[in-house]
Amino acid sequence: MCLAVPGKVVETYRENDLLMGKIDFGGVRKCACLEHVSDVKIGDYVLIHVGFALSRIDEAEAKRVFEYLKEVNQLDELGELSESARPIGQP
């Protein structure tokens, strides 16, 4: 029920005094209310739940876990295991 799906903003418009948008979900387009992500730009990804944008997706944060895993890989190759790897989410 708390399912929220990331989609790309392809168009914005105003309707009944609310910021609305057309959102592309991998080819399927739906309208959603963007009023609570009002700084959104065309091309941004937003998280949509019941036709309502909850938040903008932070691209840098989105990559963090993969960067961490890449680091673990490099450490593995060096033969140094997780002792020295920094925890996810910590700079």
Partner: protein
């Protein structure tokens, strides 16, 4: 270019995270994933079967369809049967059994019941049908509350007087507290509700983590998200830490979404709420503020005293609190199936029983 879905289902990333968890864990830990959507991911991808045996995942109460009280379902049914009413609901609620049947059965008997994707769609139906009373069944956790609040707010602003909402909103922090206070609680760490925190942020969880000495890691819903949440929780447990951490940074900020929180505060106020299978939890729900009473279906439709009937076989209360697993119920998969659900956790695809049933956990669970 990130698409923010497929990357988080990547098999190689999953394997690496599992290996990291294996390296980290030195003893048994019991974690609870709060959300039904997370339970669904765990069972669908079999994450519980590839994690080290030392980590037990128990399934939490975060399925709003499951915990919506029977009394409210019966009230919805009573309103839906009124003449001149168009009753709008999310599709998930249609097959939830009340004391007598479900909304789908009422629809087949002639009641005007419509499935909507968004509460704003229900508002549009009201606009298009000025001669009818349009009622929207506003259920959900904090995730759904902003959209529901927006529908009510817009109804008042646009003067759509034939639109009302039957509100049965629930809140996560009070139920986490109730689980931690329950006798027999085994939960040592929580995978926090990612989308709830998208709206609310996670400052509310900080005093809970501190007082009850449990780590709470805000976690997303894809396999990689879930494993990252588990890894961070286990790291904290192994190190004796009890902090709130955010493993869903791409969607969640510590303060949440300020615009949503402001609107919620304007439209709703906190109230005591009954949870199906659990009971009343104080200050665990939201109701409409008096200023919006003209759009409050509970005030507009007097339905009289409601006498509810729950199945005596159902143990969903214990399942929702993480005390029991679906296979421990004598009715699971026999008397109680997704087609004939007896109680809360079998009715929604996010309920623990329904998820176990859907992904064929019947035989496997019986032999263990």
């Amino acid at each position: 270019m990130m698409r923010y879905v497929a990357e988080y289902r990547d098999g190689a990333a999953v394997e690496k995270l599992i290996a990291e968890i294996r390296r980290t864990v030195t003893r048994k830990w019991t974690l609870m994933e709060v959300c039904g959507g997370q339970t669904h991911t765990i069972v669908k991808y079999g994450l519980d079967s590839i994690l080290p045996d030392a980590i037990e995942l128990v399934h939490g109460p975060g399925c709003p369809v499951c915990v919506t009280p029977l009394e409210m379902i019966d009230r919805a049914h009573a309103i839906a049967q009124r003449p001149n009413v168009i009753f709008c609901s999310f599709g998930d609620m249609l097959r939830v059994p009340g004391s007598k049947g479900d909304l789908l059965a009422l629809k087949s008997q002639g009641s005007d019941i419509r499935i909507v994707y968004s509460p704003l769609d229900a508002l549009q139906i009201a606009k298009n049908n000025p001669q009818s009373k349009v009622v929207f069944f506003a259920i959900g956790f904090e995730t759904t509350a902003p959209a529901n609040a927006m529908a009510v707010f817009q109804a008042r602003r646009l003067g759509i007087k034939n639109f009302s909402v039957l509100v049965s909103h629930v809140l996560v922090p009070p139920v986490i507290t109730a689980i931690l206070q329950a006798t027999g609680n085994r939960v040592q760490g929580f995978l926090g509700p990612g989308h709830v925190c998208t709206v609310m942020g996670y400052t509310e969880y900080e005093p809970i983590a501190k007082f009850y000495r449990v780590p709470i890691v805000i976690t997303g819903f894809e396999p990689v998200d879930m494993l990252e949440g588990i890894l961070q929780t286990v790291r904290q447990l192994e190190a004796g830490q009890t902090c709130v951490a955010n493993a869903y940074g791409r969607a969640v900020a510590r303060a949440g979404n300020p615009a949503s929180k402001k609107l919620l505060d304007e439209v709703f106020e906190v109230c005591d709420r009954q949870w199906r299978g659990i009971g009343i939890i104080s200050k665990s729900g939201l109701k409409l503020r008096y200023e919006f009473h003209a759009h409050d279906a509970e005030r507009l439709f007097e339905v009289g005293a409601i006498e509810t009937h729950e199945s005596p076989h159902c143990i969903s209360g214990q399942i929702l609190k993480g005390l029991k697993k679906p296979a421990q119920c004598s009715a699971f998969g026999t008397l109680c199936t997704p087609q004939t659900p007896l109680g809360a956790t079998m009715v929604s695809s996010e309920g623990a029983c329904a998820a176990y049933h859907a992904y064929g956990r019947i035989k496997a669970e019986e032999t263990t």
